[in-house]
């Protein structure tokens, strides 16, 4: 990241903004680029480039992957472009570019074919959004449908016009029966049960 941002060209501005944001974007909520999945799922990975060396031993897993698996991956993922770049005396690298402009890189040095395949699978499943520490595991455009509950939600509106303190609204409400109420109830039952 340069000390002074060059803004004479659009691309410079774009790349500078990307690196600016990346530094402190540690926390966040689940997001998806361009509301992906609202209408249908659109694959976000656009292109993958494999850099490797034809002779060096640390690219052996990548070479095996390219020889044995890459055709199959290309046929099963028609929306992704796979490039293969053999470069002499270079450690292997997988570069994945996503629809939102993010680029992810993986370095499968001295890894076998299965590990390279796992890395490629991880890149294919990503959406290109940064991995952030999730503050919440859910995002919603419509957080409440019935309205948020407050203590006054189901209160009687007669309280608005009553002159407080009012005898009715000052009554202590409890789910447990008080001793006075119990005695009164017993008396009432006895009165009902006695034949006239």
């Amino acid at each position: 990241m340069p000390a002074v941002y060059r803004v004479d060209r659009l691309k410079q501005l774009y790349t500078a903004a990307k690196s600016l944001n990346y530094g402190w974007r540690f926390e966040g909520v689940p997001t998806q680029p361009l509301n992906n999945g609202v209408t249908r799922y659109i694959p976000q990975l656009h292109r993958v480039t494999f850099y490797f060396c034809k002779q060096n031993e640390n690219s052996v897993g990548m070479r095996n992957f390219i020889a044995n698996r890459l055709i199959q991956y290309g046929s099963t993922h028609p929306s992704v472009v796979f490039y293969v770049q053999p470069i002499r005396n270079r450690s292997p690298q997988i570069v994945a570019e996503y629809g939102n402009g993010n680029t992810l890189k993986m370095y499968p040095t001295n890894k076998n074919m299965q590990d390279v395949e796992r890395d490629v699978n991880l890149l294919l499943q990503r959406s290109g959004e940064d991995i952030v520490k999730l503050v919440s595991c859910q995002t919603s455009k419509c957080p409440s449908i019935q309205g948020q509950w407050t203590p006054m939600t189901w209160q009687s509106t007669r309280m608005n016009v009553a002159e407080l303190p009012d005898k009715e609204f000052s009554r202590h409400k409890s789910s447990k029966m008080s001793a006075t109420e119990y005695v009164l109830q017993q008396a009432r039952q006895k009165q009902e049960n006695t034949p006239e």
Binding site: P30, Q32, G37, I145, Q146
Partner: protein
């Protein structure tokens, strides 16, 4: 374990009051109201679904993140069948414990699978020079809820 928990639960089940209809006219009225609310596609519904060991209150276009390994692939369209509750602007329907899965439709699509942001687990003991740092990470799956709908006779199916 058995003596502590399962036997009291059995007794609870035995002494639980069975539901009985006191006023069938009121029930029919509620059923008609719910079906009229549900049948209009403009009315937004919400549901409480059980996914990944948690209960989520979801509506259409929600994003939820579940952790752990699962056999889902990116782009898979799934149906969330454990629906505990369905609600609208003017009604709420609770399952016992689940609503009829044939009548309630909560659909989702797998949008992303990515490793979780790593968390640092740090053990240290001051008296001994024991310091263990572990970077813990897990697989996370992001689901987009695409549909929360119910059939018109969801109330009748729930009461039977």
């Amino acid at each position: 374990m058995n003596r502590l928990f399962i036997r009291p639960l059995m007794f609870c089940r035995r002494f639980a009051t069975n539901p009985e209809v006191i006023n069938p006219n009121a029930q029919q009225e509620v059923a008609a109201t719910v079906s009229s609310e549900v049948s209009q596609p403009k009315n937004r519904l919400f549901a409480v679904v059980y996914v990944g060991g948690k209960q989520w209150k979801v509506t259409q276009d929600d994003l939820i993140v579940i952790f752990g390994n699962n056999p889902l692939k990116v782009g898979d369209e799934i149906k969330l069948e454990k629906v505990l509750m369905l609600g609208g602007k003017n009604f709420s329907l609770f399952g016992r414990p689940f609503l009829d899965r044939a009548k309630v439709h909560v659909d989702a699509v797998v949008v992303e699978k990515a490793p979780k942001y790593p968390e640092l687990l740090h053990y240290s003991n001051q008296h001994y020079l024991i310091r263990i740092e572990r970077w813990l990470s897990d697989m996370s799956t992001t689901l987009r809820v695409t549909k929360v709908r119910a059939d018109d006779d969801v109330f009748q199916a729930n009461t039977q």
